[in-house]
């Protein structure tokens, strides 16, 4: 079948169809997309909160906060139980005849995560100084515009302290959503699962796209578990696994189900 633009005898239709060629992506769009994904990958949850005592949880958060985000993101790699002095078990999805099959994890275990090329987001840590988070320098001048979910304003703990509006302005939606989940993750890592849940509630209410909903859900399961709500955590975990059986978080959620 030929295209309409070559078949129609209507000059007006041809003109309309020809005008579609003017739709051109912004020159720096691909670069900004890569930056946004890098920043989001760096910020998403890698903390494993379970039975370990708070100190250990804080240690885990500190050590895992910057680990292998790209690996987690792309290849279904999840961070396993964190036992002892930083030993990690890395589980990978079964190899498939896909692009992922070429994604051999060539970084050494525990290698630092690939950073966003033009971003310098603060290291996730249990209690980052507010100034570090809100530094305007963390925002590249060319960052895409922002439509972020509202920032939690009722936080009483510095671990979940919301960055100032100046920080979130200029971030893309993806970055902003990742930042919102990162705040919940840090609250959980610092031993405040209730606050983490509040932040996740807020994310779910106010996120414009919910593109990170699976991440928020997985984190909520961990938070409920940490709060001692095993029944709730189990129910959420079962639902999660039925909906996202091959999600990068699935392995971690299964461990929650198993009580590990």
């Amino acid at each position: 079948m030929k295209r309409l633009i070559t078949e129609t005898d209507q000059a007006f239709e041809r003109m309309l169809l020809r005008s579609a060629r003017l739709d051109v992506a912004p020159e720096n769009g691909a670069r900004e997309a890569m930056e946004a994904l890098a920043a989001a990958a760096t910020r998403l949850p890698t903390v494993d909160v379970g039975p370990p005592p708070l100190d250990a949880g804080q240690l885990i958060a500190k050590r895992l906060g910057t680990l292998g985000a790209w690996k987690w993101l792309g290849a279904g790699v999840v961070l396993g139980g964190f036992a002892g002095a930083g030993a990690m078990a890395i589980h990978r999805s079964p190899p498939s005849p896909s692009i992922a099959a070429t994604l051999a994890v060539d970084a050494p275990r525990g290698a630092p995560v690939v950073r966003a090329p033009a971003e310098s987001f603060p290291e996730p840590s249990p209690a980052p100084p507010a100034a570090a988070i809100s530094s305007p320098a963390a925002i590249p001048p060319s960052a895409p515009r922002f439509r972020a979910p509202a920032v939690p304003a009722t936080s009483t703990s510095n671990v979940a302290e919301a960055p100032s509006q100046a920080v979130t302005e200029g971030l893309s939606t993806l970055k902003a959503e990742a930042a919102a989940i990162d705040r919940a993750r840090r609250a959980l890592a610092s031993g405040s699962p209730g606050q983490a849940i509040e932040l996740l509630d807020r994310y779910e209410r106010e996120s414009p796209t919910h593109v990170l909903a699976p991440d928020a859900w997985a984190l909520r399961i961990q938070a409920e578990k940490a709060r001692g709500n095993d029944v709730v955590a189990k129910r959420l975990a079962e639902k999660f696994l039925s909906q996202y059986p091959s999600d990068p978080h699935a392995e971690r959620v299964r461990r929650v189900l198993l009580g590990q």
Partner: protein, 175 residues
């Protein structure tokens, strides 16, 4: 190859076409960058599901769903005549007809006026110049369905285009 490298390659190869597709599926210009990032973010989560050689189809499928959601979230679809009146009123018709940029704006409004399922097929075939079997794969529908929707889409496009042209020729005629 690292995940980052693979993802970068995916973005480099497909960002422009995904951005364009989102626009043609009705994502407003100010939201297209975000929507494109969302497409690649979703793809990044599912890299292991992408079959070699099917990257475009995979990304297009995601883009169509992201665009559909973006359209639902934006203001209610404008009624064709109201949109066209706005277009027709602010410039002389002759100038409208020769201004390619405005023609693109008009095209988007015509596409906005089309039934969603017909628009999907129309955009992929007529504007993205994708062949019918691949469209069937992207939309997960039979090839025959693509063909029938395309015929209906052309009819609808032509009918709307005729109305648009008539209205541009007589901007005040419908009021």
């Amino acid at each position: 190859m690292r995940v980052e490298t693979a993802l970068r390659a995916l973005i480099d190869a497909h960002y422009a076409s995904i951005w364009r597709l989102l626009r043609r599926y009705g994502v407003t210009e100010d939201k297209t960058d975000d929507a494109a990032q969302e497409v690649f973010w979703i793809a990044a989560r599912r890299l292991s599901d992408i079959k070699p050689g099917s990257e475009s189809a995979f990304l297009y499928g995601i883009a169509i769903r992201v665009a559909a959601r973006a359209r639902r979230e934006r203001e209610p679809r404008r009624v064709e005549s109201a949109a066209l009146e706005t277009f027709a009123d602010d410039k002389p018709s002759a100038e409208n007809l020769v201004d390619e940029r405005r023609a693109r704006e008009l095209l988007n409004r015509v596409l906005d006026s089309m039934e969603e399922k017909l628009r999907e097929v129309f955009v992929l075939f007529e504007l993205e110049e994708i062949e019918i079997p691949m469209i069937a794969e992207i939309l997960a529908i039979p090839v025959g369905t693509v063909g029938s929707r395309l015929r209906r889409a052309r009819e609808e496009f032509s009918a709307i285009a005729k109305r648009v042209r008539a209205q541009l020729s007589f901007p005040g005629g419908r009021r």
